[in-house]
Symmetry: C2
Subunit: 239 residues, 2 copies
DNA sequence: ATTGTATATTTACACTGTAAATTAAAAACA
DNA sequence: TGTTTTTAATTTACAGTGTAAATATACAAT
């Protein structure tokens, strides 16, 4: 009732197809991704791919899902690289630096998930939501820690409308307005790092070509200064 | 030696072609722009377009150029809507609000110039530089005004490397490090509004779908707070 | 009227994604 | 073992794309 093995290798053809797709994207960009090109590279015919992906969009979705996973791994690794209490600020900075580092390591993957480089493709949010949520869990987690420590001043921060947060925020916005504030801050921070990184990756910061790092770290500092307040330590009684 | 008029109208066919292209972009997005589709809509054949644009990329470049012009018009209008000295901060805010307003009015044009939605297209910077520079002249102009008034604290702001600023910054980086600082600040501000606006336009802020304005105005305020310092007015002697 | 030139059409080619029919191969069952 | 069933691949075909080359047409200049 099944036919798991073929005479040749390539039993994990779905994975091989995705690898070829990534190589092709890395060479000629994500927009010129071609099923026929992949098939040509693998020595098979184009319609054979349809046994593994119902259409080209499904392949793109799989690539995006993998990219989110890779991105999420790096974010979570960065967060875990600065463990323990009392180092929440360093932890946030580490995830911030990891954001740009991953983007520079995989510019095409970055544009694939955070830009819209593929012609008629619209990502199926419902399917991608889990990997998406996981990938931003590092940032939202650290923000949550800082919030719990009273290191964030919530005043003036616009909140999302819970009625509109369909599914997306159910996981994290389940709590009260604390979580909503944390989500909002995470969004504002994401917007800032995304703005800078996407401009750098697409080569729109020519004057800073060799010093995007300085600009980015300046922005990280500015972000911290804006949102973080170090709680006034109660002056301990002199010994 | 020439043949200026045809029996029919459509003498400004280049303009008509661009209009059809914009309409097509407005309906099905910039990525599905098709020469054959335009020709079909205009009742001509596809190769006829090649008499007006050497290839599809040239048409896209012309569209981008027009989009920059439209964007620049709105920016400059916004700047001029708050004239006179003493209102530099309001002027900056007006250009900031106009940035998002134009983007929401023309999301496809915005993505055409600030995203990269067209398959294999790479914009010819050299050709687009004039309209690009004009379109950001409003922001850099206001920053320059504020800088001249001593309302900007340049310390800590990373400067671009003049060696790398090829052509782009010759116009504005001709001066000393003042201009470079202003350029750098303009870039940091652009990065922030671009990050937020691009996320909103591409529908990646679902939770804030109905209140992008609040989020954006919060960001404008934060930008002003970060870069602008009101010079200490000398306390005038009590009457 | 003839020439010259700009503008359009026709034709053709290589490329894309994908649907339908067909063939080949391996596994399951007799 | 032989036969059937299931799955995977190929072949073929179609509609779409950008664009190059050759061709026809209509106007302006001579």
């Amino acid at each position: 009732m099944a036919r798991p093995r073929k005479k040749e290798q390539l039993e994990n053809l779905a994975e091989v197809i995705k690898e070829a797709a990534w190589r092709q994207i890395g060479e000629s960009g994500a927009s010129s991704l071609s099923l026929r090109g992949i098939a040509r590279e693998l020595g098979i015919t184009a319609p054979a791919i349809y046994n593994y992906f119902p259409d080209r969009d499904a392949l793109v979705t799989a690539l995006i899902s993998d990219a989110y996973a890779s991105f999420g791994d790096r974010q979570i690794d960065a967060m875990n690289s600065i463990p323990g209490p009392g180092r929440e600020l360093d932890r946030m900075r580490a995830t911030g630096l990891a954001y740009r580092a991953w983007a520079l390591d995989h510019p095409h993957r970055y544009m694939l998930i955070f830009g819209n480089p593929v012609p008629g493709y619209v990502p199926p949010m419902q399917e991608l939501m889990p990997v998406m949520m996981r990938s931003i869990s590092a940032l939202t987690g650290v923000i949550g820690e800082l919030y719990a420590l009273g290191m964030i001043d919530p005043q003036g921060i616009p909140l999302p409308q819970v009625a509109n947060s369909q599914g997306c925020c159910d996981t994290m916005a389940g709590g009260g307005s604390d979580k909503l504030t944390a989500l909002s801050i995470a969004l504002l921070i994401w917007s800032r790092v995304h703005g800078l990184v996407s401009l750098e990756i697409t080569g729109k910061l020519p004057a800073f070509a060799n010093d995007g790092a300085a600009l980015y770290e300046f922005e990280l500092d500015a972000i911290a200064r804006q949102f973080i307040r170090v709680p006034q330590a109660a002056p301990d009684p002199a010994p």
